[in-house]
Symmetry: C2
Subunit: 344 residues, 2 copies
DNA sequence: TGCTTAGGTGTAACCGGTTCCACATGGAAC
DNA sequence: GTTCCATGTGGAACCGGTTACACCTAAGCA
């Protein structure tokens, strides 16, 4: 292994000078500079950051504990993190916890042992993990990505869910729809539901409880929701689904019941999963700025690491989302009347 | 920061004893053991691996330089690597090169600076990257995942492409198909094409050059290929596509030309991308054992790191693939005759 | 001319561990 | 009763860097 000592010997200078050359701290004369540069080149010297970290207290590593890397969302965030960490001179240590809090805890401990300078987490909800983050926070800057499930002590990067829901519903309103259904989870406090309500309120419309269908956020539940809505005496002409899985289930149910999308009913999803662009018809949906969220997380972390104000109050960055208009929504004026169908 | 010295002082033993306790090398008496354990517990001590690595020469980190993390394949491999690295006590340093050889080079250098014990790469093809891998190989164990584009000096984990192609074509043969087309890239040396040829030969069938369509490996090219095949005087009753994108393009073209899949023509893809399970009809395809490949890569690397025979010759692990039978293939006896259609 | 100061360099302590060596103890084997 | 060996421990050198400090030179300035 080539060490700084080897470089110093070959360049005919002291280790101190070599170190000053590498770190950029302190003066190095032009003559020494040239000799050191050629010695490094000739020897193929690569500085040992682990050794440097003993003195400097930072390793140039950021940790990323991720809930599930097989989720394309997470993968895109990870890709963005890798890219921006690199641009700021950091390496990225990654651990996929597969939604297991125990693994998350182990990963955090391992990362602390490896001396990561900061931590980024997409949190699985777990009491013990929360406690671990709170315990680590005083000595280790932490940024959460995603929903507000990380403890207050950490910085947070999210996207503006409520505004996304509003833009989805406003899109339907602009197309002339007035009876717009919400299909989502039971958590009425979610930004998606609040945005739905807000958009209707802004348009001076009431929220008809009949049009709000709650269930799990998966395909089967979307399928069932459409059947329930079709059974109403006055069915909706458009549906805002809380995520794409639900929306795709709705579209599938529509197919099977001979209901045309968007001919007879418009559907908007949320998330813009890969499948959304390839469904029939392609799904209009709300896309989260995943790459931007990764970038924001790295920049938040790096600013805390390099700024003088490491102990400033925790921050929250909320990024705007984007409505992606595809083929599952159409103007209400062109919508054929939806025949009342005797389902079940 | 809590150090081993603090632990030693609190436990009333020497640093050496604490170190022996941590590493498990050498004798530690029961009394000392108990005192050290409670001191560690009380202080919340986490050993500093960077410091340890100065002496031991290994950091407990594996590096993973990946071509494109947004590709779900890569993400699944990365997830598997993270999991198995953890199980073997290693952390994973990840860098997404986004198919840029320059970034790969930078990533490798950074990883060497961080002292990774071994490297796993999914190689983008590049001369300079190859040279860098060859240069690093003598001091750093390297495992490649994927095609044979890594230099000979590295270990390699691949899947059995030829066998996969054979099983795909044999599946079609068993369904009674005799005119089976191959739609793929111009590289006739690929395992997929070789498998196609081999399966036909095993069945005593010739390869009809008319049925071999070459083009790029994307959707548009699959679409065009089907149109070309339909224009033949004696069209195939089944198609083996070199990847899923091509197969999905073929299915799309079939839809648009009123040809039923699998009613009139059967289609098999390769790769089992996420979309494959959700196309209409769901695609029969060949799945690579991505998780197993990640596991094999870690185990190959770890065995080289921990085994005495670090300098044994480079190895190649070839894992079996799996035919996933879905709805795009059907028995030839039930296939309706394909009407000759005047396309274009 | 003498004093200050910026530029430039070597020396050595130090970072947080690991491991080699020396040394102790006590029971087993002869 | 020696000798031997397994067990157990402390001390100190060492890993590869960084940086505080001392010291030197030469230029700038009154």
């Amino acid at each position: 292994m080539v060490t700084a000592y080897d470089v110093a010997k070959r360049a005919g200078v002291s280790m101190g000078t070599v170190s000053r050359y590498i770190t950029g701290n302190g003066y190095v004369g032009d003559a020494s500079r040239a000799k050191i540069a050629s010695a490094i080149e000739a020897l193929g010297y690569i500085p040992n950051r682990a050794a440097a970290s003993l003195t400097t207290k930072n390793t140039g590593l950021l940790g990323f504990v991720v809930s599930d890397l097989r989720n394309p969302f997470t993968a895109e965030i990870a890709s963005s993190l890798s890219q921006h960490a690199r641009m700021h001179g950091y390496g990225l240590v990654l651990s996929d916890s597969m939604n297991d809090p125990g693994i998350s805890l182990e990963a955090i401990e391992r990362m602390r042992a490896h001396g990561v300078d900061g931590l980024i987490v997409t949190p699985p909800e777990s009491r013990s993990l929360n406690d671990a983050l709170i315990a680590a926070a005083p000595t280790l800057p932490i940024v959460g990505i995603g929903l507000r499930t990380t403890p207050q002590v950490t910085d947070l990067v999210t996207s503006d869910t409520r505004a996304g829901a509003i833009s989805a519903v406003e899109h339907l309103l602009e197309l002339g729809h007035r009876r717009i259904s919400y299909v989502g989870s039971s958590s009425m406090a979610s930004g998606r539901y609040r945005g739905y309500e807000a958009a209707l309120a802004l348009a001076g419309l009431p929220t008809d409880p009949e049009l709000v269908v709650v269930g799990e956020l998966n395909r089967a539940s979307g399928f069932a929701a459409l059947e329930a809505l079709l059974a109403l005496s006055d069915p909706p002409t458009a549906i805002f689904a809380a995520n794409d899985a639900v929306a795709l289930g709705i579209i599938q149910a529509a197919h099977e019941h001979g209901v045309s999308v968007p001919g007879q009913i418009s559907v908007v999803g949320y998330d813009d999963v890969d499948l959304a662009a390839h469904s029939v018809p392609p799904l209009t949906t709300v896309a989260q700025p995943l790459a931007a969220m990764g970038q924001a997380a790295v920049e938040l972390l790096v600013s805390r690491l390099q700024g003088a104000d490491r102990h400033r109050a925790s921050e929250e960055v909320v990024l705007p989302v984007r409505l992606v208009i595809r083929g599952s929504t159409a103007s209400h004026t062109q919508t054929s009347p939806l025949l009342r169908k005797g389902i079940r």
